[in-house]
Amino acid sequence: MPRSTLAATRRSGAPTAGPGLNLPGRRSISPAYAFLLPGLAVFTLVMIVPTVQAFAISLTEWSVAPGRPSLFVGAQNYLTAVGDPVFWIALQNSGVYVVATVIPQMLLGLALAVALDRPLRGRAGFRALIYIPVISSWVVVSLLFRYLFGTDGGAVNALLAEPVDWFGGRWSAMFVIVLLGLWKGVGWAMLIFLAALQSVPAELREAAAVDGAGRLRRFWVVTIPAIRRTIVFVSILLVIGGFNVFISVKLMTDGGPSDLTQVPLTYLYRQAFNFLDFGYGSAIAFVLTVLVFALSVTQLRFTRRDDEESAA
C-alpha cells in the first residue's frame, strides 16, 4: 500500500461499536474506502462486469474479430436452443445426472454421518478416508474412472464375465459419469450432515428415549426434524453442483458417442470455444443459470411451507 494512503487512513480513527454493529460517523468514511478499494476494483472488473455482460452477449450474434461490431439478434440464440435436439439431450442428461447423484449422495451421506455421530474408535480416520475423494482433483479422478472402466485393461471389465464397452453407449457412459459424481460427493454430504447431527441437543434425544421411543423412531421424530434445514441446504447445493457437471464428462466422453452424453456445460463449451459461437454458448449458460436458480428457490419454498405448517 502506498505511503500516502497509509497516512490518509491513519488520520481518521474510526469509531466502532459492538461486533457487527457500526455507528455512523463521518470521520470513519475515508479508511473504509481505502480498505475496500483494491479488492472491489478487482471484483468489479472480473466478476460484476462479466455478470452484466453474460446476458447481453446471449442476445447477439457475437463477432469473433475484435473491433467488429456484434449483431443484435434478440431472442434468436434462445430459439436456436429450443430447436436444437442436442440441447435437449444435454438437459435431459443433466436432469438424469442430478436425480441419480443427489438422492443416493444424501442417503449415503446421512447414513455415514449417523454411523460417525457418536464416539467410536478410529472415527477421525474413517472421516478422513471417506472425505479424500472430495478433495481429489476432478481431472485426476475423471481420468482414473476412464481408465477403470476402459476397454484397454480397465479393472472393472477384468472383473466382469462379459466385458462392457462402457463409453460406447449413452446410458452405460452416463452410469459411469453418475458413479464418479456419487463417489466423489458422498464425503461432502457426510461431513455437513455430521456437523448438523452433532449440534442436535442430546437432551432432545434423551427425552424421547425416556418416553420409550426406539432408535429408529427417535431418529425419525427427533433427529430428522432437527436437521431439516441442513437437509434442504445440502440438497440445494448438490442440485446446483449436479447441473454444473463438466470436467468429468469432458474428460471421460467429451459428450460422445455422437453427442449422446452431452450436458449443458460441455455443449456450451463446445459451441463457444470450438465453434466460436459465443452468443449461442451464452444463451445456453443463461438458460441453465435461470433453471438452477428457479429450482433452488422452489426447494427453499418447500422448507418455508414446512416451517409454517409446523408452527401452526
Partner: protein, 280 residues
C-alpha cells in the same frame, strides 16, 4: 438389560462395517491408481491380477518429471496458487475489515454485490471473462490465471472472514484507538493476528481451489510454457495410446500436496467447510 447390551453391540458392529466398506470404496480407486503408476509398461496390464506380476518401480515418476511438461506445470501451479492465495487473503481481509468495522455510504450495496456473486455460477461468467481476458491481453499468461482466480475467490473468502471479524470484541480495537492507533495499524497488528485460524482456513481454500482449477486454465492457456498441472495431466491422456503409468504418476504428483495440506490442516479444513456451508 442383556438384550439392549447385545443390541448395542450389533449396532456398533453395523457402524464399523458401514464405515469400513465406505472407506475402502473411497480410497480403493486411488490406491489402484498409485499401483498402476508404479508399473512399467502399464499398457500391458489386463486387470488387477496383473498388477502383482513383475516389480514395482518409480520409473514412471522419473520419466514424466524429466520429460519436462509436468515439471513446468508443477512449477506454474505452485506460483499461481501461492500468488493467488496471498492476494486473495490480502484483498479479502481488507474488504472484510471495512465491511465488518465501518459504516459508510454504499456498504449495503457492496454486501449485496458479494451475495449476488456467491450465487452466480462460475460457468455463466466463462464466456464474458474469456472475452475480457482477451481484451486485456491476458490470454496465455499466468497473470490472467491469477487475476481471475483472485476475483473468483473474493466473494466467498470475504464472506468467510467477515463472519469471523465481526466476532472480534470491539473493546480490543477501542483500546488501540485510544492509544492513537489508526485503522491500518489496527488491521495489521490486531485484526490479522487474532484471525489466524480463519485466515488459515481461507488460505487452504484459495490454495486448493487454484491448484486444482482446470476449466479456466484450459480456456485461456495454449502455450505449453504457461500450462498448469491439471491441464498438463489431462493432455497426457489425450493421445490415442495413453500411457496410463505416466498419466497416473503425474496425477499422484498433483495429489500429494493436496493430501498433505488436508491431513496437516484437517481441523481448519473441516471447520471451514462447515462454517462456509452453514453460513450460506
Amino acid at each position: 438389560m442383556i438384550e439392549t447390551r447385545s443390541r448395542g453391540r450389533a449396532v456398533l458392529v453395523a457402524r464399523y462395517l458401514a464405515l469400513t466398506i465406505a472407506s475402502l470404496a473411497s480410497i480403493g480407486p486411488l490406491v489402484y491408481m498409485v499401483l498402476v503408476s508404479l508399473k512399467r509398461n502399464a499398457f500391458v496390464l489386463r486387470g488387477p491380477a496383473d498388477l502383482f506380476e513383475g516389480e514395482f518401480t518409480l520409473d514412471n515418476y522419473a520419466q514424466v518429471w524429466q520429460e519436462g511438461d509436468i515439471a513446468v506445470g508443477f512449477a506454474n501451479s505452485v506460483v499461481v496458487a501461492v500468488v493467488t492465495t496471498f492476494l486473495t487473503l490480502l484483498l479479502a481481509s481488507m474488504m472484510a475489515y471495512a465491511l465488518a468495522r465501518f459504516e459508510f455510504p454504499g456498504r449495503r450495496i457492496v454486501l449485496g454485490l458479494i451475495l449476488v456473486e456467491l450465487m452466480v455460477p462460475a460457468i455463466m461468467l466463462l464466456i464474458p471473462q474469456f472475452l475480457l481476458a482477451r481484451d486485456l491481453h491476458l490470454l496465455d499468461s499466468r497473470l490472467g490465471l491469477v487475476l481471475f482466480y483472485v476475483g473468483g475467490n473474493l466473494a466467498f473468502i470475504t464472506f468467510l472472514l467477515l463472519g469471523f471479524f465481526r466476532g472480534i470484541p470491539a473493546e480490543l480495537e477501542d483500546a488501540m484507538r485510544v492509544d492513537g492507533a489508526g485503522a491500518w495499524r489496527r488491521y495489521v497488528s490486531l485484526i490479522l493476528p487474532v484471525s489466524r485460524p480463519a485466515l488459515a482456513t481461507a488460505a487452504i481454500f484459495a490454495f486448493l481451489g487454484s491448484w486444482d482449477e482446470y476449466v479456466w486454465a484450459l480456456t485461456i492457456i495454449n502455450d505449453p510454457a504457461q500450462r498448469t498441472l491439471p491441464v498438463g495431466i489431462a493432455l497426457l491422456s489425450g493421445t490415442h495410446m495413453t500411457d496410463w503409468g505416466l498419466t497416473f504418476a503425474a496425477s499422484v504428483i498433483a495429489l500429494v500436496p493436496v493430501l498433505i495440506v488436508f491431513l496437516v490442516f484437517q481441523r481448519q479444513f473441516v471447520n471451514g467447510i462447515i462454517s462456509g456451508a452453514l453460513k450460506s
